[in-house]
Symmetry: none
Subunit: 196 residues, 4 copies
DNA sequence: CATGAATGAGCGTTCATTCAT
DNA sequence: GATGAATGAACGCTCATTCAT
């Protein structure tokens, strides 16, 4: 664990995040990061086995932050766990677009094998939503499915927002709030929907 | 306006489309297109100012395809326009995942300046949804907002599906169907939601 | 087939040969060749698919030269075919150390897959020696084995000579002549040796 | 002079030797040695001026091993010293192919300045062969020359064998045995040959 | 005695692009 | 209208080596 005055590792990660959201996944190169951070490209390999490992570190970091936010939200709003969770999820995405991008937009091709950890973290987030959905009226047998639906509802609004695809006249935050509302309704309505 | 039988432009576009669909945005290179088309890389520059222009042409094509699908769907299901539209949208995304990716996932930096056309097409899609939502109970004043909400609901499920983020036990098509249902409900419930 | 005024291809090959013998296989790099030739590294890829292909081209060229020399030698000395062949082989090695090195010293690890052509050429050389050995008293059933023995005798002296391993007091050309003599004797003595 | 039980120098050499034998000269890197030994790369520089020095140490070791083998062989077969020597030489090469490679195939450029020691050892090997050749009928005045000829005969078969250049139908061990025989004959016949 | 941090040079290779012909 | 030749920039990565601590 290197601990020099300049402490490159976090700076590399930070720059990688910044590049990722500012210029897209295609602009994320070891040389670019190094140049921006002020070190040489090989120095990155002192802290990460390769570029994939760097990206994975970003993903892991993001999931830890997200889970912490979600758990804090659940704890702080015992009555409206689901709403609080959804709100926290959306807030996380807007506050950390870089993390969100790398966590949920990278396809499997860009994201070389390292799946176990990642899916476990992702699944933990989903389970959090699922448990909250039960408290909001969802049917236990469909908990995972309902949670996924809620998640995808939130993700849709966030994803379009982060890609700047939303019309100026529809304000982002409002859309997000709408999406949270739809997500929560989805949990409540889900039994009804199923019988249709 | 093609003149000779061997006019390269459409063949370049066709090959670019094929490569995009078959191997993704990352595999789109001028050299590969040229090789596959049977011309040389510089020839591409006779018809497209640069690679970005080629990609933009592809994106435009994608939007035209999507619009055509949506309009056909609307025409063929006069009673349930919104449902048909949502279904057609989801079908398009699943049938052309790489097209969808390049149309809706590329950030503004990746997608160099060329915004007018793209946003006009995107807006047309949105208006189609909006009009159908009116027929399904949405409030006229909020048509655009409601349409965006419906769109984002669809997009969320599609996006997660395309990024392989959905748990194996939740089957993709089912989630898509759920998302369509939620989207349609969103239009109907929107007045209610608003009053909450 | 590019045919510019500078005609890079042969110059690349020549420089590769030069580098190989002057500084060893480890110094043979595309960038080094390019620098020395006065072009850029990617230009090499206009003429060779990759570095391996370049090396293979060297090998092929070498075998063609060697075969031409051997066949000329055989034709010009009908009576003493074997001696003439051995002499020509040694002369080729001394005159083209770069070729000889890449043809017979590179191990299979350095020499990525492309074996068919190479082994066919090598075998042709061996067959030439074998046929000449028959004329010098070798037993037909052991032609290949005898040819290989003759070949290895020549190769040993050449290899040590090219690696500068021979004591100054033993003059290279003399050793080579001795080796040729031993090789020719090997053909004659081979039946005797076998009965031992 | 090793002092502590963990003295790195011999362990570095041992690992370097292991790597050389197991994966060849190209796989010898300071980092790999260090990783495998459990120290850091810079530690190697405490015991060796640079990588070349390490390789030279290895080469010296190889020559000592070879000499030990040859002397043991001579001692154990008083009657047929030359045959035993040749056999031992071939056995050493086949048992330590990568050692052999680095000892006898590296050109002078690859093998940076350090010639004195190396040539002395090499010469010692040659003298051993020379003395045995005398016992087998060689002429004293030509001892060195005859020894070199014997050596080159052995080396030729070994070199082709190590480079995988020998046809499958000619079995390696047989060729080696043939080469030994030719080498021994060379000593006996040498006076005759010379008069030709 | 040994390390952690960092470097400069280099590797093979691919890319979009230019330009004279 | 199209090409062959060539380029500059960049890519991920490995190397031997240095040096303050």
């Amino acid at each position: 664990m290197p601990r020099s005055a300049t402490d490159l590792k976090p700076r590399i990660l930070a720059e990688a995040r910044r590049l990722l959201v500012a210029e897209g996944h295609g602009a994320l190169s070891t040389r670019r990061i190094a140049r921006e951070v002020g070190c040489t490209a090989p120095s990155i390999y002192l802290y990460f086995a390769n570029k994939d490992a760097l990206v994975h570190a970003l993903v892991d970091e993001g999931f830890q932050l997200l889970r912490a936010d979600l758990e804090a939200a659940r704890a702080s709003a015992p009555g409206h766990a689901l709403e609080a969770l959804c709100k926290a999820y959306a807030d996380f995405a807007l506050a950390n677009p870089e993390f969100y991008e790398v966590m949920f937009h990278l396809g499997p091709a860009e994201m070389a094998r390292y799946p176990k950890e990642r899916y476990r973290e992702q699944r933990a987030v989903l389970d959090l939503i699922g448990r909250a959905a039960l408290g909001a009226g969802a049917v236990a047998e469909h908990a995972l499915r309902t949670a996924t639906l809620i998640w995808s509802s939130l993700h849709g609004a966030i994803s379009l927002h982060l890609a700047h695809r939303i019309d100026k006249s529809v304000r982002g935050p409002e859309l997000l709030a709408d999406a949270v509302r739809v997500a929560v309704q989805a949990a409540r309505l889900e039994p009804t929907l199923r019988t249709e």
